[in-house]
C-alpha cells in the first residue's frame, strides 16, 4: 500500500513537472511566434525583407518581379537536386519568365567540405557572367554522396571548361578564395532566417509578407503561395 502511494505521488509530481515545462515551452513558442509576426509587420511597413540577399545569387528573372523566391540550398543536397529537376522548370515557365517572380539562391553549404567550394565556384562563374549556367551544371552533374569527388576541384574546373569560361581567371578566383567570405555570409544569413534543412524556401511578396517552408515540395505548393501574394 505504501509502495503504491509513493509510486502514485511520484507519478503525479512527474505529470505536473511535465505539464509546467510544456506550458512554458508553449509560452515561449507563442512569444517567438508573436515576435516573428511583429517583425513581419515591421518588415511589411518598411517594405524591406528580413532576408539579406546582397550576398546571394543574381536574380533569375526580372528584378522588378513582385514576388521573390529565396532558395537556401547546398549543391551536394539530394533533395535540392530533386527540386531542381522536378519543380524548378515549371516554376520558371509559369512565374519567372512571365515576370511574376524572381528566384535568388542563397548558399547553405553544410553537407560536406566540397559544398562551400562548389558555392565559391558558382560566384567565380558569376564574375564571367555565367552564374546560372554554372548553377545548372552543378545540379545536373550531381553524382553520388557528399564529398564523393563529383564536386572536387578538378570537376569544378571541368564544369567551367565546358561552359567556355576563362580557366585562368576561374583558377585565380578559386585559388584566392575570393568568395569564401561571401559563402560564409550566406550560410550565416540562412541560419539566421531559421533554415535548418535544404532546400528551404522563403517567398517574399512586394509588401514584405513572408512565407517559409522546407523540402523539395511539388509545384502546386509554390503556385499556391505565389498566387496568394500576387
Amino acid at each position: 500500500m505504501n509502495k503504491r502511494l509513493v509510486v502514485s505521488v511520484v507519478f503525479v509530481v512527474l505529470v505536473i513537472v511535465v505539464a509546467i515545462s510544456f506550458s512554458s515551452y508553449q509560452a515561449n513558442l507563442l512569444e517567438m511566434h508573436d515576435k516573428t509576426k511583429y517583425l513581419e509587420r515591421i518588415a511589411a511597413k518598411t517594405a524591406s525583407p528580413l532576408v539579406n540577399l546582397e550576398n546571394g545569387s543574381p536574380p533569375l528573372g526580372s528584378e522588378s518581379a513582385p514576388v521573390t523566391i529565396v532558395e537556401f540550398g547546398d549543391y551536394q543536397c539530394e533533395a535540392c537536386y530533386h527540386w531542381f529537376h522536378n519543380t524548378r522548370s515549371t516554376l520558371i515557365d509559369n512565374y519567372i519568365e512571365t515576370g511574376k517572380a524572381k528566384l535568388i539562391f542563397v548558399d547553405l553549404p553544410f553537407l560536406g567540405r566540397d559544398s562551400p567550394i562548389a558555392a565559391q565556384a558558382s560566384y567565380c562563374a558569376e564574375d564571367q557572367g555565367k552564374y546560372w549556367e554554372y548553377h545548372t551544371i552543378l545540379y545536373t552533374f550531381q553524382d553520388g554522396p557528399p564529398d564523393s569527388g563529383w564536386a572536387d576541384r578538378d570537376r569544378l574546373n571541368s564544369f567551367a571548361f565546358s561552359l567556355d569560361m576563362n580557366i585562368d581567371e576561374f583558377n585565380e578566383c578559386m585559388d584566392s578564395s575570393k568568395y569564401k567570405k561571401r559563402v560564409k555570409a550566406n550560410y550565416d544569413e540562412a541560419v539566421k532566417n531559421g533554415a535548418n534543412s535544404t532546400p528551404t524556401f522563403i517567398i517574399i511578396s512586394q509588401d514584405g509578407a513572408i512565407e517559409k517552408f522546407a523540402g523539395a515540395q511539388p509545384y502546386p505548393v509554390f503556385a499556391s503561395m505565389i498566387e496568394s501574394m500576387l
Binding site: 543536397c77 533533395a79 535540392c80 553544410f110 535548418n196 534543412s197 522546407a214 523540402g215 523539395a216 499556391s224
Partner: protein, 134 residues
C-alpha cells in the same frame, strides 16, 4: 509509424499545408516504407502480447524494435533537419554517417524488412507452441 517515416523521408510535408508527394525516382523507397510500417505494426504488438500475456522473455521484441529502427533511420535525408542538426553538432564524420544511411537506404530497408519478417515468423511459431493446451 508510417506518418513519421514519411515526414523524415520527405514524402509528407506539413508546412505550409499538408501535402503528400512521391516523385518517380523515390517510389521504391516509398513502397519499402509502407511495408516496414505494416510489418512493425504487426510484429511489435505481437511481441508485447507475448511478453505481457505469456510472460516470456523480451529478447524477441529486441529484433522487432531493431528492425523498425533500421528501417526508420535508413533514408533519413542528410539534407533534412535531423541531418542538419547531426552534421552541425558532430561535423563531417556525422555527414559521412548520414550520407551512408541515405546512399544505402534501399539495402538497409530491405534488411530491416527481412528482420521484421523473421521476427514475425518466429513470434507466430512461438505463440502457437506456447498456447497449446498442456
Amino acid at each position: 509509424m508510417f506518418v513519421p517515416l514519411s515526414i523524415i523521408s520527405e514524402f509528407l510535408f506539413v508546412e505550409p499545408f499538408i501535402i503528400f508527394h512521391v516523385i518517380e525516382d523515390r517510389v521504391t523507397s516509398f513502397v519499402l516504407i509502407v511495408f516496414i510500417s505494416l510489418m512493425s505494426a504487426i510484429v511489435i504488438p505481437m511481441n508485447i502480447y507475448r511478453i505481457r500475456t505469456l510472460q516470456k522473455s523480451t529478447t524477441k521484441i529486441g529484433g522487432s524494435i531493431a528492425g523498425s529502427i533500421i528501417g526508420a533511420s535508413a533514408g533519413i535525408c542528410s539534407c533534412g533537419p535531423i541531418g542538419f542538426s547531426i552534421i552541425s553538432t558532430f561535423g563531417t564524420v556525422a555527414g559521412a554517417a548520414t550520407a551512408f544511411l541515405t546512399n544505402y537506404e534501399i539495402p538497409l530497408r530491405l534488411a530491416s524488412l527481412l528482420l521484421l519478417c523473421l521476427v514475425y515468423y518466429t513470434t507466430v511459431k512461438s505463440i502457437s507452441i506456447e498456447c497449446k493446451i498442456q
